[in-house]
Each structure stands twice: as structure tokens, then as C-alpha cells.
Assembly symmetry: C2
């Protein structure tokens, strides 16, 4: 809403602030994020932040979902460009491993996921957003599975695609935590290998060709 008379400028600021906020949260954590930090990062006064978002809480929730939106949309675009389902699955997996794709730092969007989870435990608004964000990701795994079955790459007689997607999603979450917090034992490469192996077994295909 808003954006009536001057859609361009307002939208830019809005987005600018969300990006800055996501950056700061990634950097310092949700609880250590001050309005002042966000203001500084986009060279603006603290008052303006509140002018746009009304309250800190609203901004934080929006920033968390915004950041997730961004990576989801980017990933979706990238997936669409890949012809084979095995390639798509591989890309999904790579993108899920903390610090594996070059464009991400070690403390990447996974740090934001953790913050989302904790907040969703007690903030109904965040819980609602989380449900949407989560379903969306699981959904794209399921879609890749269905796509592969449609093209004949994956065997069509497996379990329900949504169930498989949920299991893969859960495993990815669990492994990502291990990588994030314990990267001596569980390295990104190892997580990747496990994910590929499990996906191959659950879906019943050979990922070798995609890599």
C-alpha cells in the first residue's frame, strides 16, 4: 500500500531500508540490531526509519521476509533456466548449504532463518509469515520432483512428492544447523554429499549426470 502519488522514490527508500535492515540483522543478530544501525547503513536519520515502518517490530518482520523473498525469487529464476530436473535439484541443494555458493558468506541467509524460527515461536505475525516462507521452499522442492517425473528423468512410482519434499527439507534444515554451528565436523562439502545421496535414494535417480 502507500505508493500513490510518488511510487518510484518511496519504493526505493522502502526497499533500501529493508535491505539495510537485513544486512544489519545478518551482521549483528536480531536482538543486537538497533534502528540507529540501520539508519547509518543507508545514510539516513533514525526518524526516517520510523517514518516508513511505524515501529521497529514491523520493520524487523518485514526485513526478514523481504530477505527471504529475494533469495527465493532469485533461486526460482535460476531454476527455471535449467532444463533438466537433476540440475534443478542439484542447484536447490547447493543453495541450501551454508557457505557453498560463492555469492554467500558463511553467515548467510541461514542466520536469518534461525532468527525467523526463534521469533516465530512467540510472535504470531512472524509465525504466519514463516509458514508461508517455509511452504514455498518445500513447494519448490516438490515441484522439481514432479517436473522430473514428468520429463521421465525421475521414476514416477515413488512416494508422494510433497512428502518427499518435506523430508528433504527437514534434513536440509538439520544439516544446515550443523554446518553453521559446527563446521569442523560437518563441512559444507559433506552436507552437500549427504544431501545428494539422500535425494537420490528418496527420489530414485542418479545425480551424477547433473554435476
Amino acid at each position: 500500500m502507500a505508493t500513490k502519488t510518488r511510487p518510484k522514490a518511496q519504493r526505493d527508500r522502502h526497499q533500501e531500508i529493508l535491505e539495510a535492515a537485513a544486512q544489519v540483522i545478518t551482521d549483528r543478530g536480531l536482538t543486537e540490531t538497533r534502528i540507529q544501525d540501520i539508519a547509518e547503513r543507508c545514510g539516513v536519520s533514525p526518524g526516517l526509519i520510523l517514518y516508513y515502518f511505524g515501529s521497529k517490530d514491523r520493520l524487523l518482520v518485514e526485513a526478514l521476509t523481504y530477505a527471504n523473498d529475494q533469495s527465493f525469487l532469485r533461486t526460482s529464476r535460476e531454476l527455471r533456466r535449467m532444463p533438466s530436473a537433476a540440475e534443478r535439484m542439484d542447484h536447490l541443494i547447493r543453495g541450501s548449504v551454508p557457505g557453498m555458493l560463492p555469492e554467500f558468506e558463511l553467515l548467510d541467509e541461514w542466520a536469518l532463518w534461525l532468527e525467523i524460527w526463534v521469533r516465530a515461536l512467540r510472535d504470531p505475525q512472524m509465525a504466519k509469515e514463516h509458514e508461508m516462507l517455509d511452504r514455498r521452499w518445500v513447494q519448490s522442492i516438490a515441484e522439481v520432483i514432479r517436473y522430473g517425473r514428468q520429463t521421465g528423468e525421475f521414476p514416477a512410482d515413488g512416494h508422494d512428492a510433497d512428502d518427499l519434499a518435506m523430508q528433504i527439507g527437514a534434513m536440509v534444515d538439520g544439516l544446515a544447523i550443523q554446518v553453521l554451528l559446527n563446521d569442523t565436523v560437518m563441512t559444507p562439502q559433506r552436507m552437500y554429499d549427504i544431501c545428494v545421496e539422500v535425494a537420490e535414494r528418496l527420489i530414485g535417480y542418479d545425480a551424477g549426470a547433473a554435476r
Copy 2:
């Protein structure tokens, strides 16, 4: 009002405070936990909390590890009493499903795990503690596997027990999050079923007998 005949040779205040702190954290979340809340819960002045723990941060970290210690020790005791490895594995799984065992609320110790993870991302002290806590749990899964192989309940020709334990641990983490945050789609019962099924397949045994 205060100090009615110092009861018992200083019943352990230290422990009392830790328990209260863990309760409050579970209840309100780490960031919403105030020293005042903890003090009230054990009928004591805020000053005393600092008298014992020096700073809020120290108390919080200690409380998180304390709570985890408690459930770990309890679980260990319970495991030792069970003769069969399949029973032990089943018990481990049940204890890992949020809200499955009757003695836990829906927002149980998993809420504390989430807090530990987030804090461990940026607090080296907490990261160190987490590594210990995590390894300990994975270790007990591995031990059950080895125990079952020793008694002949489980086939002895499977993968490395530590690797299997880590995979099971990761899956449990991921599923627990789903249950905690999305209990319409992923119910405790469903998580339990999945865990049992995966454990059976990974380890190669039949859990039917244990239930």
C-alpha cells in the same frame, strides 16, 4: 517477610536460580527474559541474582546449558535401565519429538535449543558450550547403535555408527523445527513415524518389537 529462619543449610540457591531462569527463558524467550522475572520466580530480589552470577549474560548461558544437562542426564539414566537397544533407540526418538512425551509441554526444551543456536552464532562462549552439548547427544545415539550391534540386535555390517548418529541427529533437528513451528502439517506423531522409519532403514533393524 524475608528470611524466615534460613531454611536448610542454604538450599542451593545457585541451582534454584538456574531452574527459574530456564523456566523464564522457555516461557518468554531469551531476549524477553529480564533479571526481574527470574528474581520474582524464585521469590528473591534482583540484586541477589547478580550476587550469584555477576552478570545477566553469564547467568543466561549457564541456565541454557544447565537445562540441557538436566534432560541429558535424565535421558541417560532412563536409557541405562532399558535392556534392548531397540527400546533405547525408541526412547531417544520419543524424547526428541516436541510435545510427545507427556512430561513436556509443547514449548519444551526445543525452544531452548533454538535459543542456544541463535546465541551460539555470535557468542563464542555459547558456541563452545553448544559444541559440547551437541556432541553429547549425537554420541548417545551412536552408543545405542554400537550397543545394538554388540548385542546382535542390529546388523553389524552397517555404516560407521558416528556417521549414522550424525545423520539421525540432523534429521531430528530439522523435523523438530517443523513440528514446533508448523504443527498442522507436521504433527508429533508423524515426526515420530518418520524418525522410526529412517532409523530402521539406516541402522537396519525392525523397531516393531520395541513398541
